[in-house]
């Protein structure tokens, strides 16, 4: 038996026997999150620091899946009384849970917390629903444009091409696919949902109107944006359908050096840099009609069902995770934007800004970044959008027709939810 195997066996046996016998901390906070791979390591670092500073609190952190998986699992958990105590909630999808009283109102906690003054305005606002604070920001992002310098050079771009409009991007992607397609390299990764929303905003539209909560899925500029995105896959064939059926595939292919351009959250910065090194370039999102990017990311909420002492402990952790020190570790370890005004002064953050070119692109985009609305229907809309996108991107259904039908069903759903 190899030593590794032996250790593994011993470990698994001991976990079997010791599930209940682990050292009893005074309060355990069960925490669901969405961070895997490198980002999970950065989170673990913050948790370790917190537990060292608060030996009476244990954070029992579970990786659940992506934001959508978390929302799904949380909703299923409510009738079963098996929700955790604290949970990462993406900024557009927690409205439903705030609305239904699943999330605890944290306004009182935040008002009494010096953290409130330390948070950037844009970050603090993502946690507010109907005037109350339901989540405390943790990871904030905007989508950015990543490209692989090596691939662009080999495709014949001796100088950096313009990447301002849809046409610019398509031109570059086409040239890459033509020149390097035979090596299995494609021009651009099919945009993920966050990037899709961003590209719609670039086209001077939105999915839901931020002021009136009106559904804009069938607005002419939204349709035009989706037509362009879908054409990348099925008409121009500069994006692989692999990234349509499984969003992460596009990102994985970019990391593997198989894709020239990727639109994705700045939260992928550190891992992209790890994968591509100096070949990685980061640029702002295109501005097809206007310059406008969505503010994404997530915050941590506390479940109303948690016991009071657990709520207090969970809030302590949430506040610690958003502190300047933790936020700097998080920023440097992942590429998510700083949310705490003090983070930039921390040595870890200063070091990252100096040595990691492009990590600041998302921050610079903040001047034209916009928060997004989060009425309850957004949760349903985002869960449903994946299938609609697949049908459009794979050329199965007409874009305008699909979006019109989707807009109608979203309006129906919105009405249903407000009953």
């Amino acid at each position: 038996m190899t030593p590794k195997l032996r250790t593994a066996l011993a470990l698994s046996l001991s976990t079997l026997c010791a599930t209940t016998a682990s050292a009893q901390a005074e309060v355990t906070v069960q925490f669901w999150h969405s961070f895997s791979k490198g980002n999970e390591k950065a989170l673990e670092q913050i948790i370790t620091n917190f537990e060292a500073a608060n030996p009476d609190i244990k954070i029992d952190a579970d990786f659940i899946g992506n934001y959508n998986d978390i929302v799904t699992k949380l909703q299923a958990a409510i009738p079963a009384n098996r929700a955790p105590d604290a949970v990462i909630m993406e900024v557009t999808r927690y409205g439903l849970f705030a609305d239904r009283g699943v999330l605890a109102d944290l306004t009182g906690y935040l008002d009494a917390d010096p953290l409130k003054e330390q948070l950037f305005d844009f970050a603090r606002k993502v946690g507010v629903y109907n005037g109350k604070n339901y989540i405390i920001p943790f990871n904030s992002s905007t989508p950015v444009l990543y490209y692989n310098k090596d691939i662009l050079t080999r495709a014949g771009f001796t100088e950096e091409p313009a990447l301002k409009t849809y046409d610019d991007v398509l031109k570059v992607a086409r040239q890459i696919t033509e020149k390097l397609g035979s090596e299995g390299i494609s021009g651009v990764a099919a945009p993920g949902q966050f990037a899709r929303w961003g590209l719609v905003m670039d086209n001077d539209s939105n999915l839901i109107d931020p002021d009136s909560n009106e559904v804009l899925l069938d607005a002419p500029n939204t349709i035009e944006a989706y037509q362009w995105m879908a054409s990348l896959v099925h008409e121009h064939k500069v994006a692989s359908p692999d990234g349509v059926t499984e969003e992460d595939n596009g990102r994985d292919a970019f990391w593997a050096g198989k894709v020239g351009i990727m639109f994705n959250s700045t939260g992928n910065y550190t891992q992209s840099r790890k994968a591509l090194g100096d070949k990685l370039a980061v640029r702002p999102m295109p501005c097809n009609k206007v310059c406008s990017v969505p503010i994404g990311g997530a915050g941590i909420g506390i479940l109303s069902s948690a016991k009071q002492e657990v709520k207090d402990a969970a809030y302590k952790f949430i506040s610690f995770a958003a502190s300047a020190e933790s936020n700097a570790i998080w920023f440097a370890g992942t590429g998510y934007m700083p949310i705490n005004k003090g983070a930039a002064r921390q040595p870890a953050a200063a070091e990252a800004l100096k040595t990691q070119p492009g990590i600041d692109v998302a921050i610079e985009q903040l001047e034209f970044a916009h928060g997004r609305p989060r009425p309850p229907v957004v949760t349903w809309m985002r869960s449903s959008e994946y299938d609609q996108w697949q049908a459009m991107a794979l050329g199965q259904r007409d874009v305008a027709e699909t979006l019109k039908a989707f807009a109608t069903s979203t309006r129906n759903e919105s009405q249903r939810l407000s009953n």
Partner: protein, 289 residues
Amino acid sequence: MPRKFTPYLFVLPLIAFIVVFTYIPILTSLNLSVREWDFLSPDKPFVGFENYRLLLDSHEFWNSLRVTAIFAFVSVPIRLVLALLIASFLVRETLSARILRGALFLPFVTSTVSIAVIFSWVFSTDYGMANALLRAIGGEKVPWLQDPAIALWVLILVNTWKQLGYDVIIYIAGLQAISNELYDAAAVDGGGRLHVFRRVTVPLVMPTTYFLLVISVIEAFQIFTIVNVMTHGGPAGATDMLVNMLYRTGFTLFDIGKGSALAVLLFAILITLAWIKARVIGRKVHYEA
């Protein structure tokens, strides 16, 4: 003499489980299907047949029904023809027949999730076995599970691979029941092998064929695991079978009313199929005997 209530004591535990986990749920589903609920709200308002109307109005439902029907009515006949041919070769008690029967039967008892994972690899675009073989004979790589026109056929293939052994075993049992004298008689009549197969084997295993046909179609209407692991119903709904849609509507979109309405419709479809089975098989078996 045993006392009067003895038999009730013996059947009670089983009946209790059946009532709680099978019969009451049917009533619950019926009830939920005329209500609106998302697991979160305290109330479940009554909405009449609205959920059924929305469902029958939706592109999704008809797509799902179409995909499921194609899956069932294409894959089942292919399987049965293959299985009968193979079974007529493997019915002999020889070592080679034993080996092949074992090999064919193995996938049937293997975990469906494992099979789905293994075939996800076989048909993965970049590292898969299927594309490696294609390239070896000079072909282009095919995006098996990413192309809406192909993905359903891949699932049909995988399900056939898994189920074929079961059909073969059942056919063998059916064939063994046919007496050798009948074969001999047919051979004496001067029929060749093909003739005997068509005139003797096929008609005499008809009851087995009907049995397999109906249970396979019913099973095909309930397929979920392969879909959930390999495609999630994608690409673009091309493999969105009914149970997958039910799972998605109920447990990812949390439209509990619509999900229950879909469950009721699926139930109605399957009961109809089962009823046809009872009618047709009942008659056929009677007729053949």
